[in-house]
């Protein structure tokens, strides 16, 4: 005998699993710290690559000036400025990443929690059905 209520619930759950659930499941498989840490690490790598790309463009743009003044230049001061800029870029970007991915993790967990609640309801429906069958 088909239980309509159960089938509707299973259909909704299957629709969630095949769509948004995949992504949320992947996020939910991590602990909060692990997930955010991994994403922040990726952001740091991205920011580093972006920083060096911009540096490359800067060097190409000022190539002649840099080449002319390389002997008079305070190389140590220049390197310190570049390092400071790098640190600021990476830290700001990592902070933004931390906020964004914390929010994403919280949202995904909330939806996973709702999904788990439905799973429990489904299990109860199964138990009720089996009891009815036995009686």
């Amino acid at each position: 005998m088909l239980n309509e209520e159960r089938i509707i619930m299973m259909t909704r759950m299957a629709a969630y699993e095949s769509g948004e659930g995949k992504k949320n499941g992947a996020i939910g498989s991590y602990f909060r710290g692990d997930y955010i840490g991994l994403q922040v690490l990726k952001s740091v790598i991205s920011a580093t690559i972006a920083y060096f790309l911009v540096c490359g463009i800067y060097v190409l743009y000022h190539f002649e000036t840099l080449l002319d003044g390389i002997y008079e230049m305070d190389l140590w001061g220049f390197a310190r400025k570049a390092a400071n800029a790098y640190i600021v870029t990476v830290v700001v970007y990592a902070l933004i990443s931390y906020v964004v991915y914390s929010y994403k993790y919280g949202k995904a967990k909330k939806k996973q929690k709702a999904y788990m609640g439905r799973l429990r309801q489904l299990s109860q429906l199964y138990q009720l059905e089996s009891k009815n069958k036995q009686s």
Partner: protein, 382 residues
């Protein structure tokens, strides 16, 4: 209004039914328009500057994820720019990489805004983008639309200065590189446009979230006015050479377009028909879940008046001669005639009756509309 609601429902129904075919077709059209525009604007590489290539790539895009269209458009623009000068290629490549590395990691769904913004610029309706993104997106859309503006102006600069870039061949790589970067970084129109669009998006977003009636309409009109004012003031102050008439006409057209989009796209849940498979201990289930449609399509029928005794019923609120049945069932037996076109035209003799009927009809229509809107709201909330 009821007719529009019905049309919207029909559209939803049509989309739900043919979503499998419609989505690839829409992707195909988007890809084709974008690539053709790039070819028209740049078109330096003969190998990819052909309709056949565009059609093949668009066909490919129609079956792949949406973001592939953006990748293809970027590849086309890079190919054309490479044919012009490799210095331009380097700068454009770095720009694309920065967008990808710094922003689209967070919100890959916004990538399409970068593609659509230059398309809207080419169609002379750029204000559509900040208005749309302010309505459906959030403050973060400032970045994606801003990136789209930058990409458009970079490509536009290349297009306008291609002969100059060619003529600098003898001066060496660094000169061309510096010329190109200077041109982009000192483009006041670009900076002004980015600022205007950023303010517009934020203003539209804030007004849209206000708990007032017609906030969406107020938001889009205010946003359009805001962008117009900023662009005009910017033009006066920084001499950006933006066409004032073009801006005004474009903004008015943008409001109209966004209004239409709001009705048919933004406020509608195009819930797709789901084909789902799952199993339990006893059965395999192959379920087709079809979203419920909420507005019933009225099928008006009017029963013919008994014209012999029209004045006997005058003034009676309970007596209904023209029965309007939204479900298509006549309340009284009688000959069915079309609603308005063939109504008796005897105002003096049937005044009272017509008055009663019209009032009733209006009431019925109004209640249909209201109940339809309520059902729509319930459906959207669900």
């Amino acid at each position: 209004m009821a007719t529009l609601l019905v049309f919207k429902e029909k559209l939803k129904s049509f989309y739900s039914k043919y979503e499998v075919y419609l989505v690839p077709v829409l992707k195909f059209v988007t890809a084709m328009i974008s690539l053709l525009m790039i070819n028209k604007k740049l078109g330096y590489m003969a190998q990819i500057n052909s309709t056949a290539v565009v059609l093949i790539v668009s066909l490919l895009c129609s079956f792949l994820p949406l973001n592939i269209i953006v990748v293809m458009a970027a590849a086309f623009s890079l190919g054309h720019v490479y044919s012009l000068s490799w210095e331009c290629l380097v700068v454009l490549l770095v720009l694309y990489l920065l967008l990808f590395l710094l922003y689209f990691r967070f919100s890959p769904k916004d990538t399409i805004a970068v593609l659509l913004t230059p398309v809207c610029f080419a169609l002379k309706i750029p204000v559509v983008m900040p208005l749309s993104m302010g309505l459906v997106g959030g403050p973060s859309s400032v970045v994606s639309v801003g990136c789209g503006v930058i990409v458009y102006y970079v490509l536009d600069f290349i297009d306008r200065n291609a002969p100059a870039i060619h003529s600098l061949d003898a001066d060496g790589t660094l000169v061309r590189f510096r010329y190109f970067l200077d041109g982009i970084m000192h483009d006041r129109a670009m900076i002004m446009m980015v600022a205007a669009f950023a303010v517009t998006i934020i203003v539209v977003y804030i007004i849209r979230r206000m708990p007032v009636d017609h906030c969406w309409t107020i938001a889009m009109i205010t946003g359009a006015l805001m962008s117009m004012v900023i662009l005009m003031v910017g033009d006066l102050k920084f001499h950006t050479n933006i066409s004032i008439i073009g801006t005004i006409v474009g903004s008015i057209a943008a409001v109209g377009i966004v209004k239409v989009l709001q009705f048919f796209v933004f406020n509608v849940d195009y819930s797709r028909t789901e084909h789902i498979q799952f199993e339990d201990d006893e059965y395999y289930y192959y379920v087709k879940a079809v979203p419920k449609m909420s507005v019933t399509i009225p099928d008006k029928t009017v029963t013919k008046l008994d014209t012999r005794k029209p004045l006997q019923h005058t003034g009676s609120g309970n007596t209904v001669h023209h029965e309007v049945s939204p479900q298509g069932t006549a309340a009284q037996a009688g000959e069915r005639i079309p609603a308005r076109s063939s109504m008796p035209t005897r105002p003096s003799a049937t005044k009272g009756v017509q008055g009663t009927t019209t009032h009733k009809e209006q009431q019925t229509k109004k209640s249909n509309t209201v109940s339809g809107v309520n059902r729509l709201r319930e459906h959207n909330e669900k």
